[in-house]
Amino acid sequence: MRKNARLLAVSIAALSLFAAACGGDDKGTTTEAPAGSNAPASGIIAGVAYDTGGRGDGTFNDSAAKGGEQAASELGVEIKELEANVDEDRKANLELLAGDGAQVIVGVGFMFTDPMTEVAAANPDIHFGIVDSVVDAPNVSSLLFAANQGSFLVGAAAALKSTTGHIGFIGGQEIDLIKEFEAGYTAGAKYVNPDIVVDVKYLGPAGDNSAWGNVAGAKEIAAGWYAAGADIIYTAAGGSGAGTIEAAEEAGKWAIGVDSDQYLTSGDPKAQAVILTSMVKRVDVAVFETIKASVNGDTTGGIKMFDLSNDGVGYATSGGYLDDVKDKLDAIKADIVAGKIEVPTKP
């Protein structure tokens, strides 16, 4: 009898592991040019390889997907998308796309660095793009974002709009990529109000993938900070950000979105009422531009920087909550672009 109970416990545990591994919903994986699009089919196949987590996060990966969809409708390319489940998938998926006739392949996320180095070397005729990382090869475009600059602006916006002088930052995994968001945000807030209090917390250590989908955890932290007097919280943690927005709805305070304009992507009026702005990281532009360059025959690699100067990062104005401070923010933006303000990359 005890043995049976044990067997049951084991199977439940094993199943819950699988459940944890397969979070996130999928839309179709192949987006062909819509029938109504005016772009003629170019006959070009473009591949997009997502990291674990993949589509459906409402921010980072969905932004990349949007770039692919835009390429499908405007350039008439056929988009093939593959999502990684485990470590080995990254290289395997890049190879599958290469073998399936893709002329341009974008890897979404810096974990593709090593696999792409290898696959790009083996496929010199294919143009590659990598988001958030650098692969030093003649046929790889490295698509980097000055997330710290965009975060500086939303930090300044938070400081301008805060009535309590107390704001917060919730990060996903405590890795360099996210620390850049924190550094810019804090610097921007202190630039406007040197006395402002900025609470900082991360949802998990480096390597803890649950940090990107920990809605409950983000909500708990945010609710605590809101109760303690914070009135604006910026969350750079992928899908976890939904928790901050929920807490903001309940507390009647502000939340700041990340990567995509979450005012638009959420579409929920209750959420829209509390999304002050979003730090927009135009992964969609990077993906689209890379595919477009390939379609136009420009397959040279190199580092492509997306920052404030080319609107590769920025802040969203949907909702109109920032209308009263927009002039000040644009002045700060101009100063950053002109190099008058130096934005740190490390907290």
Binding site: N4, R6, L7, L8, A9, V10, S11, A13, A14, L15, L17, F18, A19, A21, C22, D26, G28, T29, T30, K80, E81, L82, E83, N85, V86, D87, E88, D89, A92, N93, L96, D100, F110, M111, T113, D114, E118, D132, S133, V134, V135, D136, Q173, E174, I175, D176, L177, P205, A206, G207, D208, N209
Partner: protein, 361 residues
Amino acid sequence: MKNQRLQRMLVTSASSLLAVFVALCICAVILLITGKDPIEAYKTLFGAAGDTKVLQGALNRATPLMISASAVAIGFKMNLFNIGVEGQMRVSLLATAVAGAAIHLPAPIHVLFCLVVAMATGALWAAFAGWLKVKRGVNEVISTIMLNFVALSLVAWAFDAFFRVDSATGSLLVKTKELPSSAWFPDIVDRRLNGMFFVAVLVLVLFYVLVWKTKFGFQLRASGANPGASRVTGVNPKRMIMISMLLSGALAGLVGMRSLLGDVHAYQNNLAEQQGFNGIAVALLGRNHPLGIFISALLFGYLGEASGRLQLIDIPKEITTIMTGIIVLAVVIINEAVKRWDDRRIQHKAALALEAVAVAA
């Protein structure tokens, strides 16, 4: 006697096969409901077997699964559920990456040194859970889950604070110092199939010999099946718990070595992630037997390798994840059902034999 064991084995393998078949049927229904063509899906899934690259990839993916399933299975033999293989693997990954990069040795000895460090650190981390169980009676399921979180955080902190080396290109992918090439585990097929595959097979063979062919193995199985009775025969269950936990941890330490010594050659975050957890399902499907583990690791490795092709024909990757989940669930249910049927069959046979004896008398 021999005949009966063979029968048992046949029944067990038949029920596992049945489970896989049932799972495929259920998945076909799921595919139909979501508007996909199951025949096309299975054609793609199993058609991929014609590609040697896919087979090499499947063996490569099966390598860590075989080792982690053995780590889980050796615990099961003692009625211990070591769910902490993932954490033990993480600790040993960082320790081995650091220790291996710190010294210089001739090639085969350097690799051996790394494997020993990996096993020692994995065993050390598992020893905590064993010690808690033996001394304080803490359920190992709870302690190993908790120790997984501790390991993840501790390793992330130690890596970030002491051992990270920023990349020359300013890439966000930071690693530890690269292992000298003398510590690299050679490939069988260049960058496709690593030699750790042989180590994994060796682990399975040793696992078999240890558990089924030695006195210790007999004591372990006896102690796991009935701690009270075996205590009477002079086997100390606490000692057995500690030893099997240490063995399990040592194997857990080896799980990540294909990724570390055979692929990346440095520690980085997310290296070999989930390989410790996935071993649990493989051990379950393989019925904690080396041969079963070998076959189910190959199956899981193959499903993983072929799932990308399904995505290319517009079938979400979750289908293979669901399939593996359903296979495991089906195995548990069908095995239980078959076991009951088999028990009844044997009882019936015994009853008939008894009756015959009674009639003769």
